[in-house]
Amino acid sequence: MTDPLLSLNNIEVIYNRVILVLKGLSIKVDEGKIVALLGANGAGKSTTLKAISGLLKPENGSVTDGSIVYKGQNIHNSDAAAIVRKGIFQVMEGRRIFEHLTVEENLRAGAYIQRNPMEARRRMQIVYDYFPRLNERKRQVAGFMSGGEQQMLAIGRALMANPELILLDEPSLGLAPLLVQEIFRIIKRINQEQGVTILLVEQNANIALSVADYAYIMENGRVVLDGTPQDLTANADVREFYLGLTDVGHRKSYREVKHYKRRKRWLS
Amino acid sequence: GRIGLAQEGEPIKIGAVFDLSGATGDVGTPYSVGVVGYVDWVNANGGVEGRPIELVSQDYAYDVATAENLYVQFVEEGVVAFMGWGTGDTEALRGRVAEDQIPFMSASYSAALNDPAGEAPYNFLVGTTYSDQLVIMLQYMLDEWVADDNDPADMKVVFFHNDSPFGTSPLEDGEAFAVENGIETMRIAMPRGATSYEAELTRADEFGVTHIIVQNVSTPAALLVSEAADFGLLEDIEFGCLNWCADEILIELAGEDAEGVLGALPFGPTTVEVPGQEIPSAWLDENDMTLEEATLHFTQGWWTMAVMVEGIRLTLAAGQELTGENIKANLESITEFDTGGITAPITFTPDDHRGNRSLTIFSVEDGVWTAASDVIDLRTEE
């Protein structure tokens, strides 16, 4: 077995020197795979991604323990710009596109670390191939685009940097079902065609598990369960709390939820 | 800081606020050197009736509130007299000064401060008031104008003034004089932050200006002179400055353009050789400075302090207790105090706190302020 592309070993993250958010978290991401990271709100998923990409500092957070190893190098003390140059690119939660720049300028900003302008132009063509809708809107100010288009732009911007590892934070947030499918289809394509490794954080466990090669489930800053999608979908808790299925395998009805309530086993 | 030398007697405390770092720091600094220099010289020469002067002074950066705080602090420390500086602080303090009975001299010569019977019984003006300066300047210009066979009715004077009460304070008196003599006048303000006065000069030109008189400090005045030269105005008209811009700084800043500019100078420039320059310049020598560098504001500070100390000396000489009231009374008894030709002799009376009402008009010749008139004295004229 080869070394994983990225591995987090027992990391601890603290915000504002007081709030302990990640409490000894370990995950591995193998090259060329899509790895999903699932978990409730506030479990620390975004924090994990920020710890990898070096974006904790502006939020007053820091990795206080453990190590983050990328291609055999310890990166948990590097600054964000250096990490991007090493080939890790994070697509942040909530899209975070540059609202006052046009689509094309957003993409050019994504290619900031690209030294060669010709290469940047080529990447832009690739992005437009994946997202023809961006091509149509390239002169539009990005802030006025719809949520789905903004999400496309955010992913497109990641492609511009030609990374080896993309950290995707909730790409389906606020998207319509059709678009969710489209985005995930493209994510899968990017993974296959470009060979980009993807670490994916998602609330929509259904779709995440359908594209992922491996998945982790986090609660309260720790990994509580991991395995292949097949393993996980077999787990009763996952079925109930992440996939929303009843024992019989039907989807639970939201109308009936008020009549019963069961706590997760691993929490108690 | 406190300047004073160990002497026999109990020190006499005098408070002072200076502008070293504020808006008028360029002229405030040499003035302060003059005041400090005089104290130093007096102390080195036996003090006042054997008692040393202790000058309790601070920079107030031309900020009225700071001046008030310092005043209270210094009075607390027991000063018997006070040297102020600007118009704003002098006027803000005059009520307190009257209440505390502290004789007060500043470098603001606003005529409104001469009010011994009313609001400002403890304020004394050593320099000729701005109003008097303006009237004397107008008188001189008018005389020249008529001497050149011109009709006074054709004389058109524009007052360029600092956009503040300091700038406007003499204008009404000047206008009154102008009306009496059939001269037309106009006011043009010089707003702060200006990089060019061409628009203002254009207005003056439209008015058909024949004479410009500036009531402002030297730096903006120098810019005005240069621009007037560029404009082509200077060749045709007379240009005059009242005391805060008629100094060596103006010549340095405006260079050749300053040639021929007139100045109403209550304190003689450093280039006139009168006895009053000797002691100050000897003191400067000892302290590695020169009279040229020090500018006339140095002698201005020096001699203003000298007048104040004279009041104290008279009080002590008369064997009176050193209170503000006594110093005031003694200041009011000063007649024809000789400043060695730097100013006209100083006389105060209980109902007039203007030290004199006369001065000499100077003009810039070859880069030097040169006397252009005899002493013009409004007291004798009245």
Binding site: L38, G39, G42, S146, P177, R251, R255, V257 | -
Partner: protein, 275 residues
Amino acid sequence: MTLSRFARPYEVNQPERHRLEVQNVSLSFGGVNALTSVSLTCEPGEILAIIGPNGAGKTSLLNCICSLYRPQRGRIVYHDRNLVTTSPHQLPKLGIARTFQNIELFSHMTVLDNLMLGRHIHMKKNIFTSMLYWGPGQREEIHHREFVEQVIDLLEIQHIRKQQVGSLAYGLQKRVELGRALAMNPGLLLLDEPMAGMNVEEKEDMARFILDINEEWGVTIILIEHDMGVVMDISDRVAVLDFGRLIALGTPHEVRANPQVIQAYLGQEHALMQE
């Protein structure tokens, strides 16, 4: 609005409910047509879901209803008032409250203060009594505090009452925002993607609250949501927008079977998966 000291609000104080009529509303931004002649009605007491692709104009429609946007054409009538010509701050007085797609809480205030702000329109005392506080000002505060505590009970946020909302987890913030709207005691509640970014468990909680509010407090609800499971289960009727046009309106069942809706919004797979 009177509230006796010990009354539970939903017993004595059933909010006034009216029918909302959106008539022929068109809205455009520069060249973009966000809404094109949209007409629909929402009956008192129902849960109406609005769905549609991203950028279809759902949020814009909500913004029109609460007067944040002024449609170029059309009327929106509620309680005999044309909302198009009303100012946003007058809507709460008509009993209309809303939440936002991207949480818009007052992040430096505590949960309690956020909810108390929901009572703003019901508070009549002026700035002078405020400044004096003791007396009428204080009595009014206490009076409204009682109402707010009911909301807190309903939404199960007792434990975070005094916390600053900015530091709360996302799911809780969504709940507080719902509580803030509810504190206004509205007759019509507009919810913009209340469950976005939540996992199944949290969605279940949220669905429970929404149903409670609708059934027990009797509040009419208009809901925008992308999770079809939720929409199908809890709404009485569903309106579908696409490119600013209303392309379908009916019961969840009818809408789900509508080929236009499948094509524009659900996608073939999704429609099948849901079955």
